[in-house]
């Protein structure tokens, strides 16, 4: 059951009707819990046991952490939580990746590795709900929050259906307090929730799903196409992944808001960023902040404790620490996205880009030009373009079937290959233009759903009618599963 389906609309309407007859917080939360598990069962019935196990272990660990006084004991309980979550994630997601790499190494030494593969089905959303649950135990360990007192609320926090399959990875400190009181959305909140859901549906059905076919075609055999077509494919995927994932996030946030729960934005016009650091502040915000808080900062702290000198090979120690921590974080971030070397390389590529940007900021090679009028006028535009180019190259690596394929793709663009088919897509070009215009003409930090729902009635009616018209007339007939479900 995906958000952009009749099935989900029926499910959600039933839930709203059910909720309207609930008279207490307890019945409200039990109903939501039941609905969340039913939603997950529609994807994968056996995996329900997994989410239940993760939730119960972390709930128990949370309490144990609160009771434990000795640092060693606390560390042990934290290790239980991290071990359970990463163990399950590792088993389901990375076993075949490790086996395949071991097989490759074994073949080098002449071993027969035929049949070195296990039939493991990746439970949908596992990367998201394990990270969500882990953030709770980490926060309790750090004593930044109290353990949850209700097993029902904790189960609901982990399985809350709007955020279950592909985030946003909402922290326990954000959602659990909301689950502890009875919430009902006001008419204004329902309206802004619907607008956010509608905007998500436009991104997903009208843009992402429509360009997907031609993008898949181009990425399947990059050697067949000329440079212009490949460039178009790269631009198409850049638009597709943004609209697919931010569309999902918008729908998830919209659904939660209709139910009365507030969730922070997960995307804020990421392609308007003027540098790669800003890009990561605007792209998949819940994941990047998760990595910042639970991996980057702790690893930077760990590196700083080991590095006592002020400079290493003539470079300031803070810079060395930053680069080491960011590379570690983004290599893991890449691996989180998928069990493939393309994701690891993509992560390292972004780590290098962020490290380079940091060095650039410290070095400031163009500071002499800073007062120049032409520089002032054009620097932001150039910075945006360079950032976008870096991101697009990253998406080619991310989307390619293999590293060889990514190399061939980028090489053909780089050498302006003229041989091959030229496929001009009637979907990709308009989609790219539309997304570019939105990014160019609107302020980066605007909150459209809230803004629109506060306009005069006539403007709202026309805006909503236009949104409905776009979805029903230009939306793909059969909505494809969201890209991020596979992670």
């Amino acid at each position: 059951m995906i958000f952009a389906s009749f099935e989900f609309v029926a499910f959600f309407l039933l839930l709203l009707i059910g909720r309207s007859v609930c008279r207490s917080l307890s019945s409200d939360n039990w109903l939501l819990l039941l609905a969340s598990y039913a939603f997950y069962v529609s994807w994968s019935a056996p995996s329900v046991l997994l989410i239940l196990a993760v939730s119960l272990v972390d709930y128990h660990v949370g309490h144990r952490l609160a009771l434990a006084q000795l640092p060693r004991e606390r560390k042990r309980w934290l290790a239980v939580s991290i071990g359970t979550n990463l163990g399950l994630l590792g088993f389901f997601k990375y076993t075949n990746f490790l086996v395949a790499n071991a097989g490759w190494a074994a073949r080098v030494f002449g071993f027969d590795t035929a049949g070195w593969r296990f039939d493991i089905i990746l439970p949908v959303g596992i990367s998201f709900f394990t990270f969500k649950s882990m953030s709770y135990t980490l926060d309790v360990y750090r004593r930044t929050m109290q353990p949850c007192q209700s097993v029902r609320d904790y189960l609901l926090f982990v399985s809350f259906f709007p955020q279950l399959l592909a985030g946003p990875i909402v922290r326990a400190s954000e959602l659990l307090p909301q689950l502890a009181r009875r919430v009902r959305a006001s008419a204004v909140e329902i309206e802004s929730g619907l607008v956010q859901f509608g905007l998500g549906a436009i991104k997903k059905l009208v843009i992402a799903d429509q360009v997907a076919g031609h993008v898949n075609l181009i990425f399947a055999t990059p050697g067949q196409y000329d440079a212009l077509t490949l460039l178009q494919g790269a631009a198409g995927y850049t638009v597709q992944i943004y609209c697919d994932f931010s569309g999902y996030s918008d729908m998830a946030i919209g659904v939660a808001r209709i139910l009365g729960y507030r969730t922070a934005e997960n995307f804020q016009m990421p392609y308007s960023a003027v540098n790669i650091t800003e890009f990561w502040h605007r792209w998949h915000i819940s994941l990047s902040s998760w990595f910042r808080d639970y991996l980057f900062l702790p690893s930077a702290y760990a590196f700083s404790r080991r590095m006592q000198e002020e400079r290493y090979v003539g470079v300031r120690v803070d810079l060395v620490i930053y680069v080491a921590a960011i590379l570690t974080t983004f290599a893991v971030c890449g691996l989180w996205h998928g069990a493939s070397w393309t994701f690891v390389v993509w992560g390292c590529y972004h780590g290098i880009a962020l490290g380079t940007h940091r060095v650039w900021k410290v070095w400031r090679p163009l500071k002499a030009l800073a007062r120049h009028t032409t520089y002032k006028r054009w620097s932001a535009a150039v910075a945006r373009l360079v950032t976008l180019a870096v991101v697009v190259v990253g998406w080619v690596i991310f989307r390619a079937e293999s590293l060889e394929s990514a190399g061939q793709y980028l090489m053909r663009i780089g050498t302006l290959a003229s041989g091959g088919t030229r496929l001009l897509s009637p979907y990709i070009v308009p989609a790219c233009v539309a997304v570019c215009l939105v990014h160019l003409l609107t302020h980066k930090d605007r909150n459209w759903p809230v803004e629109i729902s506060q306009r005069p009635v006539a403007i709202r009616v026309v805006s909503y009618a236009f949104m409905i018209f776009l979805v029903v007339s230009f939306g793909a007939t059969d909505a494809a599963p969201f890209i991020y479900f596979q992670f």
Binding site: E7, P426, A465, F474
Partner: protein, 334 residues
């Protein structure tokens, strides 16, 4: 007025306005929104028709039925529905209870379960669909997709463009092209459904640029999903043939599709499943006459197709001649 009432009024007004816009768009872009089953006659117009054609646009493009009616001395009728399949033909067959001969045109295209007729929900009762899904043990995803079609039919009463984005996009492109002088209009018209009772074309897909072929294949891949030949359509075909046999003679024409369609969208197991489906139909109605135009060597060329699945004028001439020759050589000639 309370905030809740104001909200409901705002959303209601937006829905009404959007519905009006979609109706206007459908009219402006000539999008067929009703399952118009126009009656078509070939041969003598007088008296009750002696024969019935059950087929999709491939059947009407593939064989010159006027010529067939003339040569065989039959009055033939039909109710062509764009993009139809045995599931819809079975329902329309009931309109010709006295047809002594039934010509059934099938192909890899219209027996493919994954390809759903736009008007299926308007023609085939939901109970029939549910029963067929159950009997054919269709997988959950397909059953869901097919059932959604019925819900979509309700939505289309308010928003006629719902689920027809391809036709909206191609319609807009056609309009834009004709406004700009007509160049390039209809470049991908194959994605549109057409009522092809009298349609003929000289176009050859062998002359298509490669990118156009790729785009069309991709578009069909997107529309059709994973091919299959053993679901509700197959059951409907069996029932259609059995009913036709009770009414009189049955002639099944297996029409060819273009080589790029076969190569680009179907695998060897798909072809085997298609043949198994035909073999099953043969066993169910052994008295039927089978004409395998898809086995005619000359028609296995992209020169004889106006798009990925429809024969062009030259292809139709060859197919009609082969069809008549094949009937002439059989004892069961209708």
């Amino acid at each position: 007025m309370s905030a809740r009432v104001r909200f409901i009024a705002t959303v209601g007004a937006a829905v009404l306005l959007a519905a009006l816009c979609t109706h206007l768009a459908a009219a402006a872009l000539d999008i067929q929104t009703k399952a118009a089953t126009g009656h078509k006659r070939f041969g003598s117009e007088h008296g009750a028709a002696q024969a019935l054609i059950s087929g999709s646009s491939l059947t009407y493009d593939g064989v010159n039925w006027r010529e067939v009616a003339g040569v065989l001395g039959l009055s033939i009728e039909s109710w062509p529905v764009p993009g139809s399949s045995p599931a819809e033909w079975e329902q329309l067959q009931r309109r010709s209870p006295h047809a002594g001969t039934t010509f059934v045109g099938v192909s890899l295209y219209d027996l493919n379960e994954a390809w759903l007729c736009d008007f299926r929900a308007n023609i085939v009762p939901f109970r029939q669909t549910l029963g067929d899904l159950w009997e054919s043990r269709s997988d959950r995803a397909f059953a869901k997709r097919l059932s959604t079609w019925y819900f979509l039919a309700w939505v289309r009463m308010v928003f006629p463009t719902a689920g027809r984005s391809d036709r909206v996009i191609f319609g807009l492109r056609d309009k834009a092209s004709s406004l700009l002088g007509g160049v390039g209009a209809d470049a991908d018209a194959g994605a549109k459904l057409r009522l092809a009772a009298d349609y003929t074309s000289d176009a050859k897909i062998s002359e298509w640029p490669e990118d156009r072929l790729l785009r069309r294949l991709d578009s069909m891949r997107g529309l059709q999903g994973k091919p299959g030949f053993a679901g509700p359509k197959h059951l409907a075909l069996l029932r259609l043939l059995q009913r036709a046999r009770r009414q009189g003679a049955v002639v099944v024409v297996v029409l060819p599709v273009s080589p790029p369609y076969v190569g680009g969208l179907l695998s060897q197991p798909d072809m085997e499943q298609f043949e198994a489906s035909l073999a099953d139909a043969k066993r169910a109605v052994p008295e039927a006459t089978w004409v395998r135009l898809d086995h005619v060597a000359r028609l296995k060329s992209a020169d004889y197709f106006s798009d990925l699945v429809h024969l062009n004028m030259q292809g139709r001439s060859i197919a009609t001649a082969e069809f008549l020759k094949s009937l002439a050589g059989r004892a069961t000639r209708p």
